[in-house]
């Protein structure tokens, strides 16, 4: 995990701040476009005039219900969850000084899924509104195991493999639960396990909202620390911060962001892994204070867009967005893996 050699980041010729504004504007524009597509696409497909009319309270009641109660919350949830996933990934990659780190590879998603399965299949007496909290606790527990195991890891890939084997163990328990469940339970649970934004309403948005509102500012506050940790543990300690403690705080924030999304939407893979990569490529900087907002925007657009594609491309069939992102994101990740030879930001091999 700690890089062997420490290099001072090379000053970039172009100042990244100058790229921030266009990137942000583009991101906001893309968000607006995704919202427009999300509200209009599907059946029934209202015209632009009708959509505008809906805002001022005119139009068909049915269409209004569909747009306001089904499509709008879904797009909003997609944007929020995407941003949270991306921020979570950025924090995690920074804290571990490992560009290949992603929550899906670190046991968090598996822990959360296992908790959800236990509630569903064993019919644990958990009140409905407390279930997301239990799922959250499962995700945090899975992440904690990996973080503790990571102390023995050598190098970026080793750490991910530890995460993988913890995930495999949790999946083993999951399959035990599936074997115990009735066929009906399994079908229900399977839909959750794939990660999807379908059938989510304002209720889910409201449940994610507190985490979104509370944790994103925290993430931005932590960005400075992330920058220091990216230099490697030795330089971070030299600069006067407690590297171990900072890392745990940052990872905790990252885990909370992620687990709250898993509780509502199921595990959605690879957005949190790829969004920071894209953000770094766009603004040509590794400064977490700049990468964080840009990757949040990119993550939001990516997830909401992927969801709309999954919803509209094969209509009336629908692809769960989690499958979609894993297929595309995993392939991209493989390409990154085979191209680059190291995982660390500075130094490494």
């Amino acid at each position: 995990m700690p890089s062997e050699t420490v290099a001072i980041p090379k000053p970039k010729e172009r100042r990244p701040q100058r790229r921030l504004l266009p990137a942000a504007l583009l991101g906001l524009f893309a968000i607006a476009a995704v919202i427009a597509v999300g509200l209009k696409g599907g059946s029934p497909s209202p015209s632009w005039g009708e959509l505008a009319g809906l805002i001022s309270g005119e139009g068909d009641a049915l269409v209004r219900t569909i747009v306001a109660e089904i499509r709008l919350p879904r797009v909003v949830l997609g944007l929020m969850v995407g941003a949270m996933l991306a921020v979570s990934g950025t924090l995690m990659q920074g804290a571990m000084n490992n560009r290949l780190a992603g929550p899906e590879l670190l046991g968090l998603s598996a822990g959360a899924s296992l908790a959800a399965a236990a509630i569903l299949v064993l019919r644990l007496p958990v009140p409905y509104h407390l279930q997301p909290l239990c799922v959250l606790a499962g995700g945090l527990a899975g992440g904690a195991v990996v973080i503790m195991a990571a102390r023995i890891a050598r190098g970026a890939a080793g750490m991910l493999l530890i995460g993988m084997s913890v995930t495999a163990m949790l999946n083993g328990l999951l399959i035990v639960l599936i074997a115990m469940g009735t066929s009906n339970d399994v079908n229900l649970f399977y839909a959750y396990l794939l990660g999807s934004l379908a059938n989510r309403g304002w209720e889910q948005v409201l449940r994610v909202l507190p985490w979104f509102a509370a944790m994103l500012p925290v993430a931005f506050v932590l960005a400075k620390r992330v920058n220091l940790l990216q230099l490697g543990d030795d330089s971070a300690s030299g600069l006067g911060i407690n590297a171990g403690l900072s890392r745990i705080v940052i990872l905790l924030a990252s885990a909370m962001l992620l687990a709250s999304t898993v509780a509502e939407c199921g595990p959605i893979g690879y957005v949190s892994l790829l969004a920071p990569h894209l953000a770094r490529a766009v603004i040509l900087s590794q400064d977490a204070r700049l990468v964080l907002p840009v990757s949040a925007l990119i993550g939001a657009v990516l997830l909401a867009l992927a969801d709309q594609l999954g919803r509209l491309l094969f209509a009336p069939l629908e692809l769960p967005v989690g499958v979609w992102t894993t297929l595309v994101g995993g392939t991209v990740f493989l390409l990154i893996l085979s191209r680059k030879n190291g995982g660390a930001f500075h130094g490494g091999k």
Binding site: L161, A168, I178, A179, Y190, L334, L337, S338
Partner: protein, 356 residues
């Protein structure tokens, strides 16, 4: 090839090792027989040794004969064979890739085979089909994923944990594709899901008929290749220097590994980690020379899977899990091997530096 000298990296091959190998083989065969008998004896209806013998020789009660002949014996045989094939595939992969972390399930070969089988499944069928075509279909998928892995690896020449990581991600992509296909098979979802994790529930003579010809053909082939694999283990330059056609040997061995995995997957599903634990314990017992390692891996992984199935079965019977009291099926053996194998993998990861 120096036969009696210790060659660093591939393990010794001496009279002492040979003796040791035969002792280990004997012990393993005895264990295997004992486990098969245990497997036949325990279950919902416990049978005594005399009752089993009577049933096997065609005497005894009709009920007992049915249980032993039609339910428990094929299951034990399938478990033994499928486990052995997986262990051999794992040993070959570890030797060819020179990477102790390789395992057919881990790096997505099994997932590729599962993908191919699900792709060709009849629409909305609720059960996994059993026919002679299955291993061939599965082989296609396994070859595809092994080729993908080799391609990704070849470009960077990555080794050790890195290659394993590429395999793991490839496996996750293939699994996503599997889930996508499973969406249209809602009816048989539970059974396919269990199968994609590996289970021995309900394995009958049809499964045995499907895999034994393959096992009979593939295992001797692999054992014949063991000497060449040993040369391959010395490193590319040495192997070329010794006159080994490098590319062809590697291709042949990978092909064998894919075929072994595919056959095992088509019978019992994607059992995880059996191909990892088997060869490693075998290496501890008989050394890393493929001539000894390959057969020992077959026996060990076979023993392991039959033991895992037995553990899964007895766990289901002895602990009445909530909601499961009246179920007749037992836990999938794949869950047991994964729960045992993943910590073992962690342990291996700690040792990686020493092993590479």
């Amino acid at each position: 090839m120096a036969e009696n000298k210790a060659i660093p990296g591939i393990g010794e091959r001496s009279a002492r090792h040979s003796r040791r190998f035969w002792i280990v083989t004997g012990v393993l065969l005895a264990m295997l027989t004992a486990l098969v008998l245990l497997h036949l004896a325990f279950g919902r209806t416990p049978l005594s040794l005399e009752e089993i013998m009577a049933a096997l020789s065609g005497n005894g009660q009709d009920g007992h004969r049915h249980i032993v002949w039609n339910l428990r014996l094929p299951r034990a045989l399938v478990a033994m064979t499928a486990g052995g094939l997986l262990g051999l595939a794992g040993a070959i992969l570890q030797v060819v890739m020179r990477n102790p972390l390789m395992e057919p399930g881990l790096i997505g070969v099994s997932a590729g085979a599962v993908l191919a089988v699900i792709l060709t499944m009849p629409f909305s069928s609720a059960a996994i089909p059993i026919n002679g075509r299955m291993p061939i279909v599965a082989l296609g998928g396994a070859l595809l994923s092994i080729g993908m892995l080799y391609m990704f690896n070849g470009r960077t020449g990555g080794s050790g944990p890195r290659l394993a990581l590429i395999g793991v991600v490839a496996a996750s992509v293939l699994q996503a594709a599997n889930s996508l296909l499973m969406l249209r098979q809602q009816e048989g979802l539970a059974s396919i899901l269990l199968w994609s994790f590996g289970s021995l529930n309900g394995r009958v003579w049809a499964h045995w008929n499907m895999i034994w010809p393959w096992a009979l053909a593939l295992v001797p082939c692999a054992l014949l290749m063991a000497r060449r694999a040993a040369v391959l283990q010395l490193g590319d330059e040495t192997a070329v220097g010794l006159g080994l056609p490098l590319f062809r040997t590697r291709l042949l061995l990978l092909l064998l590994a894919a075929a072994l995995t595919a056959v095992s997957v088509s019978a019992v599903g994607a059992i995880g980690f059996a191909g990892l634990i088997g060869p490693h314990i075998a290496a501890k017992l008989v050394g890393r020379h493929p001539v000894y390692l390959f057969p020992a891996s077959v026996l060990l992984a076979g023993t392991l899977l039959i033991a895992a199935d037995w553990i899964a079965g007895s766990a289901t019977l002895s602990f009445s899990l909530p909601g499961m009291e009246h179920r007749v099926t037992s836990l999938p053996a794949g869950a047991v091997t994964t729960l045992l194998g993943a910590p073992f993998f962690l342990y291996l990861l700690r040792l990686t530096k020493k092993l590479i």
